[in-house]
Symmetry: C2
Subunit: 391 residues, 2 copies
């Protein structure tokens, strides 16, 4: 539990410092926030910190005032030690880039909202292709219960946020300015929707302006919060690269989406994959989840022949595998076999019925159709064939 005094001190520190300072990270970790502020006040020399500038800021800083200002716009300050503080952010200390606290707008609890999350980032100058892919990723991740973390920038970031919202999923925007500053202004309505339905975060105090260096420093928070980072489009010297590089340093999964080799906005992604063997090529949400997710969350293999089941999602596929071939079964039994809830099984069975793959026989009993049996045989044959062909 963090004391009120410590929370006020953290608010003051966030007003005074620029986050991402190696020297300040080490010093605060050693002496604590309150003592660090006292040291700044006393003019102590802290390595890598421009002490005079901080002291100057401290003279007018007030953590109490910032907490009141934030509360007025529905924002709160989270500190390490709070229940909803994500343990993942602790990894930043291995790089001496500690996050001292986060201003938060939104009703969700941060730790839960980011427990299964993926950062989707990329260039502001996105192509239609990039926007389409980022939106699709946002939709696909949200549909499978994953949150989308990004930076609210134009282009890829905004498309990913929008995709998650379109699928009624969770999305988290990490800003390089105050949580009460809708930047860029063109994304104001998106900002407000995220504050309402997801979470808006920032290390910077209320009212803080976006500054160039703050974007790069902010990127480490995006990388740390998510289990993995996907770069959708980037020019060779894009800022999205810094998020991905932070993710790699933090031992997070790093992924990139390919695109036309004729597109300047895919050059950065291709180069990234060529240079770093740890960067995994991904083409859709399933593959991202297969990477970042828990055992059993596997992407469907694309095959040459499109069969009815290929059009169904992974849960429906599992339910399909749980439907008996001959002896009809109840929904509850099928749900158990597929390891899904009875409600999910019922919905999946309805979808499978509309494809002609299963049929209802009597009250609440289901069995596979001839078409379903054929489809299942074809699916297994393809899987075996693929193993033979490829290895």
């Amino acid at each position: 539990m963090i004391s009120d005094a410590d929370r006020v001190a953290t608010a003051t520190l966030l007003r005074v410092c620029e986050p991402g300072s190696l020297g300040l990270s080490r010093h605060v970790r050693k002496v604590g926030v309150a003592q660090a502020l006292a040291d700044i006040q006393a003019g102590a020399q802290i390595p890598d910190v421009e002490a005079e500038g901080l002291r100057h800021r401290l003279a007018t800083a007030s953590g109490e005032r910032d907490l009141l200002t934030a509360a007025a716009v529905g924002a709160r300050l989270l500190c390490p030690g709070d229940d909803e503080w994500p343990t993942a952010l602790g990894d930043l200390r291995h790089r001496d880039l500690d996050c001292f606290g986060l201003w938060v707008r939104g009703r969700l609890r941060l730790a839960e909202a980011t427990e299964r999350s993926v950062a989707v980032v990329g260039t502001r100058a996105a192509t239609d292709y990039g926007v389409h892919v980022a939106h699709d990723l946002g939709v696909g991740l949200a549909e499978r219960g994953w949150s989308v973390v990004s930076g609210l920038a134009f282009g890829i970031d905004a498309a990913a946020h929008r995709g998650a919202l379109a699928a009624e999923g969770t999305t988290v925007a990490v800003l390089a300015c105050g949580v009460d500053v809708p930047y860029p202004p063109g994304n104001r309505s998106l900002y407000e929707r995220i504050a309402d339905e997801g979470l808006v975060l920032s290390e910077h105090p209320p009212g803080a302006a976006p500054q160039r260096h703050r974007f790069l420093v902010r990127n480490r928070v995006i990388a740390a919060l998510a289990l993995g980072t996907v770069v959708v489009e980037m020019a060779p010297r894009s800022g999205a690269k810094s998020t991905a590089v932070h993710a790699a340093y933090l031992n997070r999964y790093v992924m990139a989406v390919p695109g036309p080799v004729t597109s300047a906005m895919s050059v950065g992604c291709h180069q990234f994959m060529r240079e770093r063997p740890d960067v995994v090529l991904v083409t859709k949400a399933d593959e991202v989840i297969e990477m970042c997710g828990h055992l059993g969350e596997l992407a469907e293999q694309p095959t040459g022949q499109v069969r009815a089941r290929d059009l169904l999602g992974p849960v429906v596929g599992r339910v399909f595998e749980g439907v008996p071939v001959q002896r009809p079964a109840e929904v509850s039994g099928i749900a158990t076999a597929a390891a899904v809830s009875a409600r999910a099984a019922a919905a999946a069975l309805a979808a499978l019925e509309s494809q002609g793959l299963v049929e209802r026989v009597g009250e609440g009993l289901w069995v596979m159709t001839a078409l379903g049996r054929k489809d299942r045989r074809a699916h297994r044959a393809v899987q075996q064939q693929q193993e033979l062909d490829w290895w």
Copy 2:
């Protein structure tokens, strides 16, 4: 040196057998071509060979007649042991998929034409994007003195051949039918151009029809002839995969071109790169050559800022680095510094002069201009920055 009798025997064997037979490969390697024919004649059981079918064919086969038929269309038969037989084909015996001989149309010598060669293959159902990329690769490889090996199929294969021809380079088509059979008929004019300017090859006797299984067996020859295989577009179950898989088994470089994740024709390439860590993502000819080529044939790094030198090839870039900043130097000295021929250096200097990067001072003396110095500094800064950023 191979005897006339052995050449006739090889022609007969190619008429009788289907290439790509493990048992026949082992048997021929053990007893030689002539004895293998005698064994077939005598009805000997050869493992993995349908002896009766071969014996039946042997009754009407005539190597002499095939050699005459081939000569009438300007084709010759190459056998292992011939000067122009590529040693690379010998690698096929490690997989018991020996190539016993090759019918050849064209004036070039096969070993030389394939010494620095890359196979560019892919789907027949290519998209405009795939055709564009394959053609560009063909052009780029040819411009840098590399040959393009492919299978004369519609789509990617034809585009790669055409690109090489457009750049007045060497291209080699390996057919799954007789060298005198222009298949597919729609590519007849391309076939004729390749026979005229490049080489058309086949293991099958004159007049042989293309048969389904022959395409897959043919693919091992494409893979073996080239130092590496690039797949440009393929559906998940494309035949191009077999060429790439053969290449991997033969310890050749295997490369794939990415594309839009929204394109069905790029799915196979993306899947291939995801499944096999040995498959390298490539986006242009320079990167292919960097992979397959000798030391020093490096692809230019894409950077955010396009500078004059970025538009120049690698040789010109090296010459540029060899031009002194202050004291003018002679062409010969610059050529030595850049490790290129004096002729290449002179051509490169003319190109650099037209970009304003170097200037002529007095008779045969060159020095860098102010613009050139600025460009060089920017280039080095970017290189250093990239190292810092990325690793």
